[in-house]
Symmetry: C2
Subunit: 437 residues, 2 copies
């Protein structure tokens, strides 16, 4: 799951180096290294994941010291408390990050799975095998834990990874990448499986986006601006992740005793994440009964309401509420704010969602089977919840294991992306001299 | 399967219209229309496919007359005989195109398939359902049959389609799209499910590439230039299709009586297609025995050899043979030409393929199990053939039914793309008031 961070791609000064050529050379080394991994057994990869975890814990002091330099610069640059918290590594956090690598080792290996297979009438034997992509590019912001997560996910799925972690975490990432690469080499795997291009700054990031043919897929993780930049610039295929303008719709038939905890969980259990609710839609038939209670509970949890006229009229006096504009319907707040609108019926709710949703997750609370079926069929999002919190759109919660992000596009991966989504397939066709008639 | 056609995107003069807005309006209408289809039953879709086929046959005279205008202009513009042949529609071809629609009706419906499903320990019930993409964009060249194919594949998979067919076939496509749209309306489906943007020329094609959010996937079909343009320009996710620099490797252990028919089939059974062989690699240990015979047979079939030194030395006198350059190793000839190189061993063959292949299809002819396993594991292509012709990389041949193209990228679809590849998935999560702890 990805929270949006408003850290732009930093624009370090170019210094006359041929950055595209140098980044292509990095990607080329990654491609070569990936070949060693493509045919590695699960045992080899899992042992390497444990070696990475051990090495990371052993290097805690060095990692935390580098992180302190990033934090110091971040404070000098005026980064917000939230950003500094995401950036910070403590010895406890290093242990938690290492444990995540060990958990990856416990997951099944997606590589080698026979996705489809058959023998054709002419005797040709077909297998469609799951194989690694090759080289995965990651562009992300200010979160050194993503450096380790991405390296681990790539390793387990048989891929090399080229990382662009942003300048805010540059010192931390440099040390971490060095530790991981050396640990790989101790297990007989190429250190080039995990490389950073942070040294080439924004120009390097752009070069990575243009390294088509060397980089097989690019996964941006971060705020809407970063993702939009990558989608616009990249000729490498991109998997868009993360922006969640998430809706909860309380139907006329809803059990309001079920609706309230779902709403509170969706909005307040964790606010800075993509599967948190951003807009509440309430059927007019239950607005009088539901909204005064719900808005008071939200206010108790510190939530500011951005409401339509009906909502504002129903808000108890003590509730902080302001009029909603179209901008509110469009916004992924990632904060203790919630847009609230009263709708005439399910059709109006579906229309609102069609107009404003980012296609991540929407929930309906209802007891009406027909309403739930229409909602499931007509909402065009990666995940649709019926009588459950939107916070369940998460690889871990859905039982997929670790995730590299949540895709909001329709191509290749939709919803939480786990190990299988970092693989592709290969057709293997075996004959005995078969020719096409 | 797609043959490359050297017809560029034509640059009709812009006339001050706001082309991007108009093309976005087309895509928006397609999006609205796609909703009606997303929940249509297979019976409805199959009946519509038969209605399209009937309408097309009924309109044969009108279609052929429009096609005659395209052919006349094509001849005046100096199009090659091959291009004119691909462009031409006869009453018999119209029947064949209509029959392809009826065959689509006989294929299973990919929509609604439960890809994964389970009940979690907390009682949440998960289903990952196959659902239509929504709006599929197609950019292709001078082949009016693709207009019908694409419309049929989109309809069967529950998608609307926006077509850019190129100016060479503009009159044919205009009539065909009109016939298809009216036929859909007679079956109670929106005519906007099949729309053309040919009227907006090249500017319209570019606008389609930028219609992210309205168009869910863009499939270019045509020559390398067209595909490169779409990949570079498009912010809509693209599935790259078709360029096949295809290799046949004859191993030292090959049964040469098996190798020869595979080679001839791969090179000469049909030359203008992406799964035809373009380079032959022969192990030095069998070159003396294999090449003189193979080159003579190829010459008999009219093939010109572009050979390395060893090959040229082994070529019988009557064989048309010229020295190969790096350009030959890189070229998808799509003609009666073949690049031929003698390699020292399997490693050199794998190196050559890694350097020059477009990742479409490669074949090994061998009796050595270890060699076949290394080739299968190390060749990074959509399809790998062992003792079989490369011509089998085809949706129909592999038993997948109709295909919309052959993907040479790793994201979403790799190899022949059928109906399932025009769908995405949606997670449906059902609870009874579940919240995340």
């Amino acid at each position: 799951m990805t929270a949006s961070l408003d850290v732009p791609l930093h624009d370090e000064a170019a210094d006359g180096r041929d950055v595209p050529a140098q980044v292509r050379a990095v990607a080329q080394r990654a491609k070569v290294a990936s070949r060693a991994l493509a045919t590695a057994t699960r045992a080899t990869k899992d042992a390497a994941l444990h070696a990475l975890a051990d090495a990371l814990v052993a290097a805690t002091e060095e990692v935390v010291a580098a992180n302190a330099r990033d934090l110091e610069r971040g404070r000098a640059d005026g980064l917000s408390a939230g950003l500094l918290d995401r950036l910070a590594l403590t010895p406890e956090r290093v242990v938690a990050i290492a444990d995540a690598l060990r958990e990856l080792a416990a997951l099944p290996d997606p590589v080698g799975e026979v996705v489809r297979g058959s023998t054709l009438p002419n005797g040709l034997r077909l297998r469609q095998l799951r194989v690694p992509m090759g080289v995965v590019g990651m562009i992300y912001e200010a979160r050194p834990n993503v450096t380790v997560d991405a390296a681990g996910l790539a390793l387990k799925s048989g891929n090399a990874v080229v990382l662009r972690g942003g300048s805010a975490a540059a010192a931390s990432n440099e040390v971490i990448v060095g530790v991981l690469a050396r640990a790989l080499e101790t297990r007989g795997l190429p250190g080039d499986l995990v490389q950073s291009i942070d040294a080439w700054g924004r120009e390097g990031a752009v070069a990575l986006m243009h390294a088509r043919g060397l980089v097989d897929v690019l996964v941006p993780r971060g705020g809407a601006d970063l993702i939009a930049t990558v989608v616009r610039e990249s000729t490498v295929p991109v998997i868009e992740t993360g922006v969640g303008n998430v809706h909860v719709y309380v139907d006329e038939s809803a059990d309001l005793a079920v609706a309230l905890p779902i709403l509170l969980n969706a909005k307040t259990q964790r606010v800075g994440v993509c599967n948190a609710a951003e807009t509440l839609l309430v059927h007019r038939g239950v607005a009088d009964e539901f909204l005064p209670v719900a808005l008071a509970c939200l206010a108790d949890a510190g939530v500011t309401i951005h409401g339509d006229e009906t909502t504002l009229a129903l808000a108890p006096e003590e509730v902080a509420a302001v009029p909603a504009t179209d901008e509110d319907w469009a916004t992924e707040y990632l904060s203790l704010d919630l847009a609230v609108r009263v709708v005439d019926d399910l059709d109006e709710a579906l229309d609102h969602i069609r107009t404003w949703s980012s296609g991540h997750t929407e929930a309906i609370v209802t007891r009406d089977l027909a309403a739930s079926e229409r909602f499931v069929a007509e909402v065009d999002s990666a995940a649709v919840m019926v009588n459950a919190s939107t916070r369940f759109t998460d690889g871990g919660q859905l039982g997929l294991g670790a995730e590299i992000g949540i895709s909001t596009q329709k191509l290749h991966a939709r919803g939480p992306m786990g190990l299988a989504e970092l693989t592709t397939t290969k057709w293997v066709v075996q004959g005995e001299g078969h020719v096409r008639p």
